[in-house]
């Protein structure tokens, strides 16, 4: 193995394996960080997972961790393992745009709570990942800074909104990434890129410092290549934060222990509920086939498979597209050119505050953002509130009841994560409704606040990855990891290694070092 192969090896390691290598000092954090920065330099010209790469800061953190390790200081298990952060999370001193022109050039003066935790644990931040503008989209095609390509096929979408984080992890540009999930933005990109993504229980990870789309739905979570890695990162960023009133004031569920236990492959006594409404029509044949095979796999591990019905899920998408835009219309009101970010003065006529706000928002927001702001403003208007926002909240309550009833019959619920594999760029860009359907299986969890995981469960007939979704009751995130780790172990043993091993090699640009 030559030197170059050695560095590329580091990027193929899972975060937990890299953490072990760091702990045993067989590799330094500076080496690991540099290896990932090199990989980014080599492939990101094509993939475009990153909006900003923070090499200097990352290497400084890495050197600091190496020094502490050399001095024998006690370190966090993930100390020195590099990480990428979705650009919707504010990072002190690093540009944060949320994929929008309206924030181009803005440097936040503070860190999100989860970033504080990442920094305190000594994880070098490689940079900020691309996303649909303000996390609105399922393909990254709504990013103001160009789309991210799916490492499996550069002509295809990496999912969204967190396509950048998923592609970075799938393309071995980072072992770990942070995503956010309002309607599926962690799980759907996970599914289409063959990676693991977890949306924790609402309130499980602090939202302080997440640029809000829909406050009652947004949740940050881990994006990784293995279930155990997701658990390690989940445990690091989770837990109570006094700066977030909706944060759960309880210890993080034992997700790492659950992942380790699940990997032993014993699911006897576990009841797995298949949600009738989240399968069948509208799901690609290959997606359905892989799903059924995974159910067999779970059965083989000792789980009992039951069918459950959640009739209100049929209305989830409709309710979501009222609640989400309503909250977004208010959350995005602060982007007005008065205090930070883009400021555009009207081309003609008087320069008043109102006209500057209007010109700034007109120039700074993309079409999808405008569409949702208009929808939401309408849904909250006097005379329409009860019919739209009010009704949607009632549907939300019904969905929560459906979940409660389903979790009486099953310990976890399962479904395909997304109805199709990655589609081609432009395919759904002019058809918002078709685009919105990508999230049909992921949205119910956000509306009810329950946790969900997507993990790769094979390739469809088109040779592209398929995702398997597991849902658990609120605050029982550990169940996701137990089931996910068991299924992952079984599948990988059948495949003879991780699914990502089957992804085509990315073209690398020769480095000028």
């Amino acid at each position: 193995m030559g030197t170059n192969d050695m560095t590329s090896d580091i990027t193929r390691l899972s975060a937990s394996d890299l953490a072990s290598a760091l702990a045993s000092k067989s590799v330094s954090s500076v080496e690991a960080t540099q290896a990932h920065l090199d990989r980014i330099a080599a492939v990101d010209g094509d993939v475009h997972a990153f909006l900003h790469v923070s090499s200097e800061e990352a290497l400084a953190t890495a050197a600091d961790v190496d020094a502490k390790r050399a001095a024998g200081e006690e370190l966090h298990p993930l100390a020195g393992v590099p990480i990428a952060v979705k650009d919707v999370v504010v990072t002190k001193g690093l540009p944060t745009t949320a994929g929008s022109k309206i924030l181009a050039g803005w440097i936040p003066p503070y860190d999100a709570t989860l970033v504080e935790r990442i920094k305190a644990a000594g994880l070098p931040i490689l940079g900020k990942t691309n996303m649909d503008e303000f996390a609105m989209g399922s393909s990254t095609e709504h990013s103001a800074f160009g789309n991210t390509k799916n490492p499996w096929d550069l002509d295809r979408i990496p999912g969204g909104s967190g396509g950048g984080s998923a592609a970075a992890v799938a393309g071995f540009e980072a072992p770990l990434a942070i995503g956010t999930d309002t309607g599926g933005s962690i799980r759907q990109p996970g599914a289409v890129t063959g990676t693991v993504g977890v949306k924790p229980t609402y309130g499980g990870v602090s939202r302080y410092g997440l640029i809000a789309m829909a406050s009652s739905l947004d949740q940050a979570g881990p994006v990784t290549r293995t279930v155990l890695d997701a658990a390690l990162l989940h445990e690091l960023i989770g837990g109570h934060d006094p700066h977030d009133s909706t944060s759960i004031n309880e210890p993080v569920p034992g997700v790492v222990a659950a992942a380790r236990q699940g990997a032993t492959g014993d699911l006897r006594g576990l009841r797995v509920g298949v949600v009738k409404e989240l399968s069948g029509e509208g799901y690609q044949t290959g997606v359905s086939a892989r799903f059924d095979e995974s159910l067999d796999q779970l059965r083989a591990l000792g789980a009992e498979i039951v069918e459950v019905s959640c009739p209100s899920f049929t209305y989830a998408l409709d309710a979501y597209y009222l609640i989400m835009p309503a909250e977004a219309s208010s959350n995005l009101a602060k982007f007005d050119g008065m205090r930070f970010g883009l400021r555009v003065e009207p081309e003609e006529g008087p320069v008043t505050a109102e006209r500057v706000m209007s010109a700034t928002r007109g120039a700074g927001f993309g079409d999808e953002v405008k569409r949702r702001v208009i929808l939401g403003t309408y849904a909250l208007s006097a005379g329409y509130y009860d019919a739209y926002y009010g009704s949607a909240q009632k549907v939300r309550t019904l969905i929560q009841r459906d979940f409660a009833a389903a979790f009486e019959q099953a310990d976890v619920l399962v479904s395909p994560t997304a109805p199709t594999t990655a589609f081609k760029f432009g395919e759904k860009l002019d058809d918002p409704l078709a685009m919105y359907l990508n999230d049909i299986a992921t949205i119910p969890a956000n509306l009810a606040g329950v946790p969900g995981m997507s993990l790769p469960n094979g390739l469809s007939d088109d040779g592209l990855p398929v995702g398997f979704q597991i849902l658990a009751p609120a605050k029982a995130d550990d169940r996701l990891y137990r089931v996910g780790a068991a299924l992952e172990a079984a599948l990988e043993s059948r495949w003879g290694g991780p699914l990502l091993n089957r992804a085509p090699e990315l073209k690398t640009t020769e480095l000028a070092r």
């Binding site: 939202r207 809000a212 219309s329 008065m338 205090r339 208007s381 006097a382």
Partner: protein, 503 residues
């Protein structure tokens, strides 16, 4: 639109003879918490612009609010003092509107679930008449920043070259208290409006929830007013005069709006529902924003906050520690002191209630305390144009002074001289008596000598008195008092003089 400005004013007395005014008052009070409503930024008056801010009060992307527990406690105190019910659970809502002094372009407020509701307070007018005002609700919200418009001649936004925003005030906790329509005030509507806000101000101070300084904008009032032909008629169209920020202005604004609206109605025109601005200079109001198309604030429950659910135990704990409210205290003290209504009113208006209470608790009779504070001390305060409380004499010193009078060691005249000494900073009354040698001469010896001198000097008076006419004896007493520099007990001198002449 111009109807209001082209119609004339109707004389107030005439207007209230023909129309029945109905008031509605919204009072905002800034709470005196250490930190803001939703973040840890310091609340302090007069800081350098934009120094008392956090990502939350600047509305930076990603920032989230957290409710200030102390502000909730203060809001509950206010609610209880206003005889309100306290909600078992209530939510915040977003009031969405774009304006640069509102950092998030929505104000976090309470909408359909206020923390306190359905209350009342009794308001005492200057002549002692008590008027009950019903409270619809008291809710929590955050203040906006402060705009300064630069470059125009008026300081208003029109004509300004640019505007500056100071977010130090943004996010300061407010409680807004909204009355039900105040009916039946009739011609006394301006007084009722003023007394109501004054009463609230006193309550805020008594509760220690705010400095409640009108001149700093700690307390701000919006006054709604409408007229109707008779008290039986349905409510008329109202105007809302914003930010009337002194007691006197509140009274004037109501008077002006009564006169103006009467003029509009007399001309057969409709009153326009609008926001109006009050002008301190001439006591008029002028049209602000027209509210014809009721503004749509797109209220919805604030998803970044969880409901505020004060436990009943906590509410009762707060209730148990509420201080006595000003009106109740006045009533109790009047009974204890035995003052007539008019006497008590004068005491209240003179701001002497605390001083008298302290003097009485230092051992003086209620009558004695009132005699000093409402007599000699009121005269001196008036003469120096200062408040009674600003005189450099304490209730304890007044109690001591009155004690000296009651024990016969000082007469009134000497006591006033002792007071001079106290006010001049010469110490307590006892010390002044000693230092200035002002005690009454109670030894007959020196008195008799002075009397004999006086009698010898005025033999004609002695004759008259002996002849049975006691009138002129005062001249002898006066001479003796003069000779003893006022330090004699006049009653004793009279006894001795009559005794001497009778011999």
């Amino acid at each position: 639109m111009t109807a209001a400005t082209t119609t004339g004013l109707v004389a107030y007395e005439d207007a209230v003879r023909r129309y029945d005014p109905v008031l509605g008052i919204e009072v905002h009070v800034e709470l005196g918490t250490l930190t803001k409503m939703f973040c840890a930024a310091e609340v302090a008056y007069g800081g350098e612009p934009n120094t008392q801010v956090t990502p939350v009060s600047l509305g930076l992307p990603g920032a989230l609010p957290v409710v200030n527990g102390k502000a909730v406690e203060y809001a509950i105190r206010i609610g209880l003092a206003l005889n309100c019910s306290i909600a078992e659970s209530c939510r915040f809502a977003r009031k969405n509107y774009f304006y640069p002094d509102v950092p998030k372009n929505f104000q976090t407020s309470q909408y359909d679930e206020p923390i306190a509701y359905d209350g009342w307070i009794d308001v005492e007018l200057e002549d002692g008449e008590v008027f009950r005002v019903e409270i619809e609700r008291a809710h929590m919200e955050e203040d906006a920043g402060k705009n300064t418009h630069v470059g125009g001649s008026t300081g208003r936004i029109q004509g300004a070259e640019y505007s500056l925003v100071d977010y130090n005030r943004a996010g300061i906790p407010l409680v807004e208290i909204v009355t039900r329509p105040i009916e039946g005030a009739g011609e006394r509507a301006p007084e009722v409006a003023r007394a109501y806000v004054q009463t609230l101000r006193d309550i805020f101070r008594t509760l220690d929830v705010s400095e409640a300084r009108m001149e700093r904008g700690n307390v701000r009032a919006d006054v709604n007013l409408s007229l109707r032909p008779t008290p039986e008629s349905p409510l008329g169209t109202r105007t809302e005069t914003k930010n009337v920020n002194s007691f006197r202005s509140i009274e004037r604004a109501v008077r002006y709006e009564v006169s103006r609206q009467a003029g509009v109605l007399d001309a057969g025109l409709p009153v326009i529902q609008e926001t109006r601005h009050f002008h301190e200079e001439d006591g008029t109001t002028s049209s602000g924003r027209v509210k014809s198309d009721a503004e749509d604030y797109r209220y919805f429950p604030e998803p970044d906050l969880v409901p505020v659910a004060p436990s009943r135990e906590w509410v009762e704990e707060i209730r148990a520690t509420l201080p006595e409210m000003p009106v109740a205290r006045r009533r109790r003290l009047q009974t204890e002191w035995g003052y007539a209504d008019a006497e008590m009113r004068d005491v209240v208006n003179a701001g002497a209630i605390d001083l008298i209470e302290a003097t009485v608790s230092a051992g003086t009779s209620a009558a004695g305390a009132r005699k000093w504070w409402m007599g000699e001390l009121a005269r001196r305060a008036n003469q120096d144009d200062v408040m009674l409380a600003d005189l450099s004499v304490t209730p304890a010193q007044i109690a001591q002074l009155q004690g000296l009078v009651e024990s016969g060691r000082l007469n009134d005249k000497l006591a006033r001289q002792v007071l001079d000494g106290v006010l001049a900073g010469e110490g307590d009354p006892e010390a002044v008596v000693v230092a200035r040698g002002l005690e009454i001469v109670s030894d007959d010896g020196p008195l008799l000598a002075a009397i004999d001198d006086a009698l010898a000097a005025q033999p004609d008076i002695v004759e008259k008195v002996r002849g049975g006419n006691q009138g002129p004896v005062g001249a002898i007493i006066g001479a003796v008092m003069k000779a003893t520099k006022g330090q004699a007990d006049a009653k004793r001198v009279r006894e001795l003089v009559l005794d001497r002449i009778g011999q």
